[in-house]
């Protein structure tokens, strides 16, 4: 999916509008936005079981019995009813559900597949792996994106810029999971140099974990690099047309010093973009994890869907939303700390 903030930056005037829009009122707006998003996701999680054809309590119990024959049915029905508060009126059911989810630890019920492990436990375990993958790949991808973007902007319309742009559009539209399959064939099967699946060998060692990370990380870097590079290119073009750059040029600055000044001014907006783009990237990262059977959220969700393990699917959506919201908040809070020109006054 195309990153909308990238198009906002391409529209120009981004730097100027950014300095203006950071006010206390803006921050309040953003925080209200986060709570509304959380509300939408909680409401969706609450409504979805009710939309299933038939009585979802029965579906849930049947599913659980298929996975684990001989479970105590009456106790299960009672537990699902208490989770959803099924004997209450609808609005009270929702409040009851929200209360269950917002308590510590959030109560999504027990996984059907790994009964009686709680869905929340499975999801938090998988999240750790996803965050490792996400963090590593995005740091590398972002740093490479900055250098590529600045290079392209400084040599705008020169050969490199004109060749790289269409190539980056192409990489931007490659299905990540498909690239993963190609990588497995090339690097794991034909060359046999890297493991095709999992996150560690029989026992997790540091070396094994890193070896298993290389392929998925590489795929994620390749598909997310274009978005970072193109954003940086847009911002840098704007920086290059600003007054201080003209002054620097008039002073006779060139080479490393000049490069440094431009870099410092281009990094900040792209850092915000990095955090804001997590919501778009994370879905693609899930598919890559599934390709490599990496024990992160993507594989967990796909396995849960295959086995109709509904509590895990719901818990996974909730956790994903939390990650996206936190990274959005980080983008808003980091900016005034890093850029002294901006403050929430």
């Amino acid at each position: 999916m195309r990153n909308p903030s990238a198009s906002a930056m391409a529209e120009g005037g981004f730097l100027r509008s950014l300095a203006r829009k950071y006010t206390k009122r803006y921050l309040a707006k953003r925080i209200i936005n986060l709570f509304l998003v959380l509300f939408v996701v909680l409401a969706l999680n609450f409504i979805l079981p009710h939309l299933m054809p038939g009585n979802f309590v029965q579906i849930f119990v049947q599913q659980l019995e298929r996975e684990h024959p001989g479970v105590n049915q009456a106790a299960l029905i009672a537990r699902i009813q208490s989770l959803y508060g099924l004997n209450l009126p609808y609005y009270a059911q929702f409040l009851h559900y929200v209360q269950q989810i917002l308590s510590f630890t959030p109560n999504f019920g027990q996984s059907f597949l790994y009964y009686p492990t709680s869905a929340w436990f499975l999801v938090t375990y998988a999240l750790t792996w996803t965050l490792v993958l996400l963090g590593t790949s995005q740091v590398i991808s972002w740093v490479c994106g900055i250098f590529l973007g600045i290079r392209m902007a400084m040599r705008k319309d020169k050969l490199m810029d004109r060749v790289l742009q269409p190539f980056l559009y192409f990489l931007n539209t490659v299905p990540p999971f498909w690239l993963g399959l190609i990588f497995i064939i090339v690097f794991s099967i034909d060359l046999g140099v890297l493991p095709p699946s999992g996150a560690y060998d029989v026992t997790p060692t540091l070396f094994g974990v890193i070896r298993h990370m290389i392929l998925p990380t590489a795929v994620i870097i390749i598909v997310t690099l274009p978005s970072h590079a193109l954003v940086v290119r847009g911002v840098t073009l704007e920086v290059l047309s600003s007054d201080f750059v003209n002054v620097s040029k008039a002073q006779g600055l060139s080479g490393r010093t000049f490069y440094g000044r431009v870099l410092r001014n281009s990094i900040l907006p792209s850092l915000t973009n990095l955090f804001l783009s997590i919501g778009f990237l994370i879905g693609g990262i899930f598919t890559v994890e599934f390709t490599f059977s990496y024990p992160g959220m993507g594989t967990l969700i796909a396995t849960a869907i295959f086995n109709e393990d509904y509590p895990v699917v719901q818990a996974a959506l909730y956790v994903t939303t939390l990650v996206v919201l936190l990274s959005n908040l980080a983008a808003d809070l980091l900016y005034p700390i890093l850029d002294p020109r901006v403050s929430y006054t």
Partner: protein
Amino acid sequence: MAGTAISIFFVVVAFVGLIYLPHDPLQPVGPDYSPPSVQFPFGTTFVGQDVFSQWIFGARSTLLVGFLSALIAMGIGVVIGVTAGYISLTDEPLMRFTDVILTLPALPMLITIAAFVRPTIVLTAALIAFLSWPATARVTRSDVLSLKESPYIEVARLSGVPKRYIMFRDMLRHIMPLVMALSLFSVIGAILTEASLDFIGVGPSSAFTWGAMISFANDANAVFAGAWWWFLIPGLSIAILSTGLAFIAYGVETVLKEA
């Protein structure tokens, strides 16, 4: 130019599939896992289905999801964008609503919804559209805001042209070219999203898209059988088609900006 040629090529492929398919795409017609040959240009699957026929057949649903979803998203986005831009009272609530939809993690949400309700292909397109219209709404709103001050709209307003005519006739005529070009990005997004849903295992079950081909290949462990021909072409087709559409969109955008 290149973008238009690429896009037309895939549309032609989809239409050819309506009239002629070399083999029945879903029936076994050859040996299992046969590599590309004269008889089966893209090889065969693990039960001997012809990948070339599947590729032609899949173009139809793939394009349908992409364009249908983009059309719905454009409709929602334009209505919300024009309303927010022209009627200042609605601006704040509508844009806050847009922000909320924009922040939602689209793919994880679609996966969850699809896991519970197993949508058809049309519903899938609609669901993708419901989560992807904010970009259109934002562009439309900012265009309307600047258009609102232009003399000809002022004349229309003073001469008593009804509000809805100004909003959805006079203004629309001006903003549609840009909005339609940007909607090509929604087509790309929808095709990729649908393919991802297929891959995770919650795609529309009755439709056969390129994403479904990749997903079937993965489920059948084609990777470990070394059957690269099964999924190479569908994935590459998605990327090439999307790049073609992106070229058109960027081209139109640049021309409109200069004008």
